[in-house]
Each structure stands twice: as structure tokens, then as C-alpha cells.
């Protein structure tokens, strides 16, 4: 959880949007990408890459029930390690068995090894049902940050067996 721990430590409310409406899955992915762009973590091209990868992944873009994890390849314009969180007011469909999606977590990493590492760490974090449940109910950006921080701190102390 090394990379994720650092990223969450640096997480600010600028990387989070709560209670947001999205027209469709593309709009939701774009919103999460724009948050990363505004923070200077990715280039504009990266957002297009996120939409392209989500399309390529099809049903697998939604990594856990209700949670999509859009990302592009580092070479598509990743500048720095970053995470964005979008909690939707109304869930959208990604054409996946894990629909409807309420949480969209975008991320970026400048090197392939960091990208893979961050992806694995986020995937492990999202495999926890309790974490997903709390995130779904988050009302504010601060709420989201504290849920992430708590989860990282509690990692490996038993909570993680309940997936």
C-alpha cells in the first residue's frame, strides 16, 4: 500500500466531487479525468485515454459492484501520481454485471511499474465491501478523505478479510 498511502496522504478536497450528476458513463469518466487534469496530474489527452480504455475494458471497467476504476496508460499523458474520486448522485450504467455505478475513481501514475502498483493497491482496497459501502454514503469531500485514510490505516488489521 506504499503508493496509495502516499497518494491518500496528499489527497485534498480538490480531487473529490460528491453528489454530482453525470449524463452517462462517459460523462462520469470525463469528470474524474478533469479532476486529475486540474490538479496537474495528467494532460488533456489522458482523459481521452481514460474513456478509450474504459470502452476497451467493457464490463471489466467496473472493478467491484458500483465502483468504476477508469485509467489510461502512463504514455497517454500521466504526469504524476494522482487519485480522483467522484461520488454520483444518480448511478450510471457501464454495461457491466457490476452496474449501476455510483463511485468513479480515476488515477494516474507516470511509470508503468507505478501504474501497475497503484492499480493493484486500489483494487485490493476496493475489494473491501465495508469500504465501498462507507464511500457510497459519503456526503462531503472531507468525508471521502477520512474514509480513505481510515481504510489505509486499518489495512492488514483484520478488516480486509471481509470482502
Amino acid at each position: 500500500m506504499r503508493l496509495l498511502k502516499d497518494a491518500v496522504k496528499k489527497m485534498t478536497s480538490e480531487a473529490i466531487l460528491v453528489n454530482i450528476e453525470a449524463d452517462d458513463w462517459k460523462d462520469a469518466v470525463k469528470t474524474s479525468g478533469e479532476l486529475l487534469y486540474k490538479l496537474g496530474k495528467v494532460s488533456k489527452e489522458y482523459i481521452a485515454g481514460m474513456i478509450k480504455t474504459t470502452k476497451r475494458l467493457g464490463p471489466y471497467a467496473v472493478i467491484a459492484p458500483g465502483v468504476a476504476l477508469p485509467h489510461a496508460r502512463p504514455e497517454d499523458g500521466a504526469i504524476d501520481i494522482g487519485i480522483s474520486v467522484v461520488i454520483l448522485r444518480t448511478s450510471v450504467d457501464f454495461d457491466s454485471p457490476n452496474d449501476p455505478v455510483k463511485i468513479v475513481i480515476g488515477f494516474s501514475a507516470p511509470t508503468n511499474s507505478q501504474h501497475l502498483q497503484l492499480l493493484k493497491e486500489l483494487a485490493i482496497l476496493l475489494s473491501n465491501r465495508e469500504f465501498r459501502k462507507r464511500l457510497r454514503r459519503a456526503k462531503t469531500s472531507e468525508n471521502v478523505i477520512s474514509i480513505f485514510r481510515e481504510a489505509i490505516e486499518n489495512f492488514g488489521v483484520g478488516v480486509w478479510e471481509k470482502t
Binding site: G58, P59, A61, I63, L116, L119, K120
Partner: protein, 420 residues
Amino acid sequence: MKIDLKEILRREMQKKTILLNPGVLTESYLPEYLLFREDEVAQITRHLGRYLSGIQPGNLLIHGPPGTGKTHAIKIVSKSYNEFVNETGINSKIIYINCKDKTYYQTLVTLLHGLGVNFPERGLGAAEAVESLIDYLKESNGRYIFVFDEIDKLKKTYRDKEEPMNALIYRMSRLDELLDKESPLIVMISNKSNIIEKIEHATMAKFTPKTIYFREYNIEELYQILLDRIKSALAPGSFTTEPVKYLAELIKKNERDLRWGFRVLIEAALMAHDKLTTDLIEEAARIVDNDMLSQVIHSLSNHQLIVLWAVSFLENVGILPVTGELYQVYKLVCEELGWKPRSMRHVMHYVTPKIESLGLITSREKGQGRGRGKTLVFHLEENPKKILNMVEEVLSERAHKEFKPHEIPEFIQISFQRRR
């Protein structure tokens, strides 16, 4: 370091081995007798004997699972038959043709060559070949028996309008109509359990064969056959009955046949220092299986390999490989390797059935809920990790670049999928 290849050759040549007569354990070895097939062999011989006496006893269809002695039975009978007609001066001959991977035309040409007719291998058509056959048979007063082995494995060409197997059976069983005299006796052999259903009604109406079924051997019979061959193949005192019994059980348990058993025996004997043991049999079975699996995997086309990889990958990560999900993964791999993906229709109609016919995967239909139609669920018959490793190696060779899915984000994301 320089390797002394001659020394390796010398060492291998002089290596002490318990395998004295490996030929006895090969597929091409024709034994003098067939254990537990005496009735079938006698039945075939009686049938041919009747034909020899001037009666037309009807055609023969010999069928049964692979490795049950069908080909050996007909070869043993043929040997005695040809010896007998030579000794008695009867103008008769058995022509044996293995149809595997031959087209209808090639089969006819092989038959003509077997009869001693000079006919070009290329350039003419099946109609001309049949014409030559008719001309030859009209001229000849010999009584012929045509044996067509593995008839279900005839190759269909793009020019063939009908199934080559049906075309061959139809033509051969209606030779009398063109000859105006008694036609040759036709013997067809197949290991397909549904061979009779595969022959069209119109063809069957005239073919009307007497069928002889070769059942599978039981464990005791397998044991006796293996022991009988081992006695001629291995050095005296190099084996006990225990590993032979174990091999017979392994054949039955793993649904293999005697050919597999003989391959295992050769492998185990080559590894043995002075004695064949159960452990050696087990180790040899693993080697032979891997070898056979590797050969099958290498024989697959690029797209068949990718589909096989996709099924193995999804099974390995615990996702049910249904049509849509399988195609999605297949497409991702194609993109990764820079190969143009085939359409979903092509994959499901042409690619998956081929892999299924090789016994690597199975499929079943599954309803998707009321009003949502049906989908196919695939299942891998082997260990997914083993297949993944083997296929990744072959794909890397063919794509001229390393295919390392564990370093590709999309595949990592799929492997972490959590479903409701």
C-alpha cells in the same frame, strides 16, 4: 563452454537401458494376435471368407473408441487373407487406405495406386478417378476388398459440395450399378460413436453394412495386454506386475487408451536404471501428457490460442467465461499483440468449436434469465495456470514479442474483478 556433441551421442548410445525392443511399444507394431479381440477378429475373418467363397455377404462397418484394436484387427486379418489367397492362387486382394487428412480425390487415387493403376495424383477430378476404377474393375476378374480406415477424418476441400465421407461411402456402395457385376467388398472403420447417424439416409440405404463394435478394454484386460507387450519389450527381471497394474488403472482413470499407455511405458523405461517402478510410471505419464498437450497447443492457430488463453484466464481469476466476456478478453489480447480480432460470430462459430473438438474446452448453453436469451458458458478441461503458461510462451514466439499479461494494466484490472 564447448559441448562435445559426439560424447553426448556416445553416452546416450551406450546408456544402460531396460528397453530392449522399443518397436513392440510403437503404434506401427503389428502383433501376431490381439488379446481380448478374438471374437471380433474371427467375425471379420469369417465375413471375408464368405466373400472369398463367392457370396456377397454385404459391407462392413467397424467402429468403437480409439485404441480398441480396430486397425490392428483388420491388419492382422489382411495379412492372413493376403497370405491365404497367395498360397491358394485365388485372384483376390485387400487394399487398406487410411483416409485421415486425405480428400475424397486423394483417397480414390490412393485406391487406384493400390490396385496398380497408373493415375495422376493431381490434375484430374474425382469423376475421372471413379471412371478409371470402374474400367479397371470391369477388366479384372479379381475379388477385391477395399478397407477405408478413419473415414470420418476425410478432409473437405472448398470445392466439395457434399461431405467427403458420405461421397466416398455413396460411390463405393454403388459401384455395382456401374459395373454390371458384383462389386468389391467395402470395409469402413471409424472411432466416432455416432458414425451411423452421420451417414446420410440415401447413402445408408445402399451401404447397409454389417456392424462390428469394438468395446473399450476393462482394467484387467488393459493390464494383460500391457504385460504381454512388456514381456517382449523390456529386459527380463526389469519389471514387476505392480507398476503395470498401476499403468492400467491410470489409463482407465484418466480416460486414455493403450497408445498412451505404450508411450508412458517407453518414457518410463528410458528413465529407469534397472527396474520399472510405479513412481517412474507416474512421472512418465506427466511427461507424456505435457508433451501431448504441448503438441496440441502448438497445432492451434493464433486466434485459437488467444481464445484458449482467454478461457483459461477467466477461469483462473474466477470469472465465468461466457460468450460476451470471453470475446472482450479475446479482443483485448488481439489489440495487445497487434492482431486484427475476428468478429464475435467468427470466434463462436469457427474458433471455439475447433478448440472444443480437441478436447481442451467444453461449452454448454445457459439461460440469462427470462426474455434475455441464452449464452454459452465455456469450461477449461485442463489446469488453467498450466495452459496460461504454455499459451503465453507460444504467443510470444509467434508475435515475436513477449506476451506478459501480468504487466498489462487491463488484465490486472480484470483479475481483480469482484462480482456481486
